[in-house]
């Protein structure tokens, strides 16, 4: 059975690092689920429907273009969200889209959280803003989320963004499939060879 993944991305610029994070989270999840034959991905870019979302808030109903996207979210088996952090929280447009989702459409739905920001000092916005929002909506929020600060895109020092994305995608896929977590590596049984430790430090091959 194909897992239907909906992705909500609320980046505004083109290209957008928020969209890039969303795409990479989706790729990592699909990979962990077993590749493109195991999952399909539909991306909802809030920018495309910003006016329709505003109109929905004002009039109480969705335009056909917006309705199509709301249906994608409601019918998906899993949801990945990615929002920029503005003034210490998710963006207003992102919240407006969440506000017009049909009632209970996220209840019991597995959700993977992602957020971007100008500085790593906003990284807890995932836990103090996004996580309570999705807890309120009754979603099954994956414990492993990814915050990508500007510097993460050009550096390996902030914990290797690529690895964090892979780990988040893997954990999310296990949440979706119910697969057990991989065995913990015993550092006394499987010791890291010293050449590898040296290469990590010096960057040598």
């Amino acid at each position: 059975m194909t897992t239907r993944i909906a992705v909500i991305t609320a980046g505004i610029t083109e290209p957008s690092s928020t969209r890039l994070l969303a795409d990479r989270l989706a790729e990592a999840t699909v990979r962990a689920l077993g590749g493109p034959s195991a999952a399909s991905v539909d991306v909802i870019d809030v920018r495309d429907i910003a006016h329709d979302v505003t109109n929905h808030v004002l009039t109480g109903f969705a335009s056909p273009e917006l309705q199509e996207r709301l249906d994608l979210v409601a019918e998906a088996d899993a949801l990945i969200v990615s929002s920029p952090i503005y003034t210490a929280s998710y963006s207003g447009l992102f919240k407006m889209l969440i506000d017009v989702l049909p009632k209970d459409s996220l209840r019991d739905k597995p959700v993977l959280l992602g957020a971007t920001g100008g500085t790593a000092r906003h990284s807890l916005a995932i836990d103090h803003a996004l996580r309570p929002l999705f807890a309120y909506l009754g979603a099954l929020v994956s414990p492993v989320a990814v915050f990508a600060a500007s510097e993460d895109w050009g550096s390996t020092e902030a914990g290797r963004l690529g690895e964090r994305i892979e780990r988040a995608g893997g954990a999310f896929a296990r949440l979706l499939t119910g697969a057990p977590a991989p065995k913990q590596v015993d550092p006394f049984e499987n010791v890291t060879p010293f050449e590898a430790l040296l290469a990590d430090v010096t960057g040598a091959a």
């Binding site: 505003t54 109109n55 004002l58 009039t59 109480g60 109903f61 335009s63 056909p64």
Partner: protein, 432 residues
């Protein structure tokens, strides 16, 4: 012991179903024969909003708005429409009556054949006993030219003003209507529920005219429970069909029709359906759009949101020529089936009275006559006509005097305490 002391007993020895000479129905039948044989009813409904005219800055006073409403209803009759329905409101910016029978009783006196209705009567915050009494009284004054549409109302603060809770909206609508339905059909009602004082041996007066309660429509935009309620009782279902996409209407009407058949009132296509609509009409469609746009752009419901063009595409709002309005309206039956009543909202968003009256002239002279003919030609014979008091009386087997005759009551007789004492000490009292 004087007879009056026994009044508490006599109230219960009522003569029900008593026939009196000179049928009121015969008289009505002669007076209002024009109403018979209308396949479909056309009319207008209003919410009584007091809105500033964005083109002049003029805001009508409450009295201007109220008198305009009367003029609009009279005009509706003059141009040949069948129905006028008023909203019920308890808060500004509305000048619709808090109790619609106040307005409708006046309209009954200044019109001859217009059916007077509501859009809507709040079944949630009103005491069903008062509804039973007031609408039955109105029925008598208006010689049967009355029906009503039940709605829940969607303004949060209104509920607590009447001691109710909006979160109980559906249970209130269900319980209150169950009581209202009985009060109109049973002379003596014993009743207990969650939301009001229990009743013992209660007779709602006056009894419905000719023993036939007013026809009831149930209005709802998206609550399946209300479509289910209408179907259960075999009442009409009205979809407001404005401000929201037609998909809501399609879904609700389909549910109502399916359940109407389930409850054995007839086949699905025989269910009684009414639709709202909203139109602004000028001979030339470009003129209609140019004139209506400033009202649309500032309107309380949709103003400052989607463009007029988007809103026309996404909802049943019609702004255009008579021919465009005719074609679009005929198209409604493609998604609701053959239906019985079409009402339009014509007087909102600050449109001045003069414009509204012109609109009614166009509606009555160029749109409705064509729709009457076209809809009648399309409707299969098995689909019932729109219900009227006369058709309901005929279906009930003819008119009857439903008056509950009693000798006296506790007010003109003894005190309730004395009546109870008398009851306990007389042989008749033991009959209870």
């Amino acid at each position: 012991m004087p007879l009056s002391r026994l009044s508490g007993i006599r109230v219960l020895l009522v003569r029900t179903g008593m026939r009196q000479g000179g049928s009121a129905f015969d008289k009505l039948n002669r007076q209002q024969s024009r109403d018979l044989g209308h396949d479909m009813q056309f009319g207008i409904f209003t919410v009584g909003d007091v809105t500033t005219d964005p083109t002049t800055g003029h805001t009508p006073t409450e009295q201007e708005r109220i008198k305009a409403t009367v003029a609009i209803a009279q005009k509706a009759e003059e141009v040949g429409l069948d129905v006028f329905a008023t909203g019920e409101h308890h808060n500004p910016p509305f000048a619709a009556p808090g109790n619609p029978p106040v307005l409708l009783a006046h309209l009954a006196a200044v019109t001859k054949r217009l059916i007077l209705s509501t859009s809507t009567t709040l079944i949630t915050t009103n005491d069903p006993v008062r509804l039973a009494e007031d609408y039955a009284y109105l029925q008598h004054l208006a010689d049967g030219r009355v029906d009503l549409m039940m709605g829940r109302g969607n303004t949060g603060p209104v509920y607590p003003w009447f001691g109710k809770d909006i979160r109980e909206g559906i249970p209130l609508a269900i319980e209150n209507y169950a009581l209202l339905h009985r009060l109109w059909r049973e002379d003596n009602v014993d009743w207990q529920g969650r939301f009001r004082t229990p009743l013992q041996g209660f007779t709602s007066t006056p009894r419905p005219l000719d023993g036939v309660p007013p026809f009831v429509w149930h209005g709802s935009i998206r609550s399946p429970e209300i479509a289910e309620q209408a179907a259960y009782y075999g009442d009409g279902f009205f979809s407001n069909h404005i401000f929201w996409p037609a998909s809501h209407t399609r879904q609700m009407v389909a549910l109502y029709r399916r359940r109407f058949e389930h409850y054995g009132h007839g086949s699905a296509d025989q269910a009684i359906v009414g639709l709202g609509g909203q139109a602004f009409i000028r001979p030339n469609s470009q003129d209609a759009i140019r004139e209506f746009r400033p009202y649309f752009d500032k309107a309380p419901v949709y103003g400052h949101g989607p463009s007029l063009e988007e809103f026309m595409r996404q909802t049943p709002l019609l702004v255009g020529s008579p021919q465009q309005v005719i074609e679009a309206t005929l198209g409604y039956r493609e998604y609701v089936g053959d239906y019985q009543r079409q009402l339009w909202l014509m007087d909102h968003a600050g449109l001045p009275l003069k414009t509204v009256l012109e609109q009614l002239d166009i509606l009555g002279s160029e749109v409705v006559p064509v729709l009457r003919k076209e809809f009648a030609a399309l409707k299969p014979a098995r689909v019932p006509d729109a219900p009227t008091h006369q058709s309901l009386v005929a279906a009930a087997g003819g008119s009857r005097d439903a008056t509950v005759y009693t000798d006296a009551d506790d007010v003109t007789g003894a005190s309730p305490e004395e009546s109870r004492a008398a009851r306990a000490t007389t042989p008749e009292g033991s009959l209870r």
